[in-house]
């Protein structure tokens, strides 16, 4: 359901948060749907439950999830708006990486070419 890159400098819990927001942005998850259980997601991502729990806790604080004790976690009604805000973050993070790539000597052509390559690999 989600993909995590353990070797990335981006914290796993941030990747999980971004991933869930992405699923909502893309419509694969809708307000009112059940979010994956903390334990189940942790198992499928091969990650410690505490790490997923931290992501869920922060998402609850942000109003993206409604977590109930003893119950399932539901995608909040406002999740779409929250996720839309998250898109700005993703965009900024991406732009930042692009800028850093430039500083490393990659030309804009290189960058565009890389994007194009990815587009072919994962359409």
């Amino acid at each position: 359901m989600l993909e995590i890159d353990l070797s990335s400098p981006v914290p796993v819990y941030d990747q999980i948060k971004a991933g869930l927001k992405g699923l909502v942005s893309k419509g694969q998850l809708r307000p009112g749907d059940e979010a994956p259980s903390i334990r189940g997601l942790a198992a499928s991502l091969k990650v410690n439950p505490n790490t997923v729990a931290r992501a869920y806790r922060e998402l609850s604080i942000e109003g993206f999830l409604n977590s109930q004790r003893g119950g399932v976690s539901l995608i909040a009604d406002q999740a779409v708006q929250v996720a839309a805000g998250g898109l700005g973050d993703a965009r900024a993070a991406f732009a930042d990486a692009a800028r850093r790539a430039r500083r490393s000597g990659l030309s804009w052509d290189d960058i565009q070419r890389t994007v194009a390559t990815l587009l072919v690999e994962e359409p």
Copy 2:
């Protein structure tokens, strides 16, 4: 001379290493030139000298810098080749960020648009 993003999850010393390699890739720094002094660079980046020292130490191990007693570090003769190798890293890191942006719900169009925007801002 270099730009550092303290709020990025990418370690500062890695950003410094990438930045110096970039300067060589782009020809703004050539083998035989003096690298900026650790203290001076640390001051201009508003970063702890130890952090710059770590970057320089690792660059020396990689054969990118020749650090001499007395404090002056010179860009090594093989620096261009080392920097060229670093380009692969930069490209990979960038591709990774693009992939993550996709997972967050950004469309390829969004990404291309962001690249285009950056291109206008920092040609």
Copy 3:
């Protein structure tokens, strides 16, 4: 510096958050001051460092603390305002306990008497 009640149903990290806000409200800690170190506070409270870390992390998100990697945590400039907001929470939590005591059959007289007693013990 702070007092924690491990037998209370209120989570320890919340007590720590409230305690720090209280120190600022009472002027014993001011914006710009160094907050106690996570490890040091954990040791003095005989609590796990992770528990204190969680409190500090949330306080940073709330804008009450400025935490820097490798450095000390500073009381933020806006801490007084944030702490003032926290007073409302404390008041609400207290009022809630008073209400619950009433439901348990305590009369208002009992409650006032208890407050008066505490006032004598800890002026």
Copy 4:
């Protein structure tokens, strides 16, 4: 009949226990009376029946309730004494909240004022 605060850190079943003891302390429920049915109370409190069942089970152990096969629970003869003992708990919990409010920076005046306000709202 009872009031429950789901957002309180105090366990719901403890609130239910305290609430029933309170009804007896205040004389609204007397030894020999039928306690509300588990299902009915759960429905009116919008709480899981298991939660109410747990409260009743513990109250039976404490000798406050006589639960009989067939489902009817009766207020025990010794309930008044048990409830009186519970007052001490309520008092202690309340005193604890007051102490914590103090640590959060509330002055005794604030606290007394809050008590006075509550007295006006719920005489």
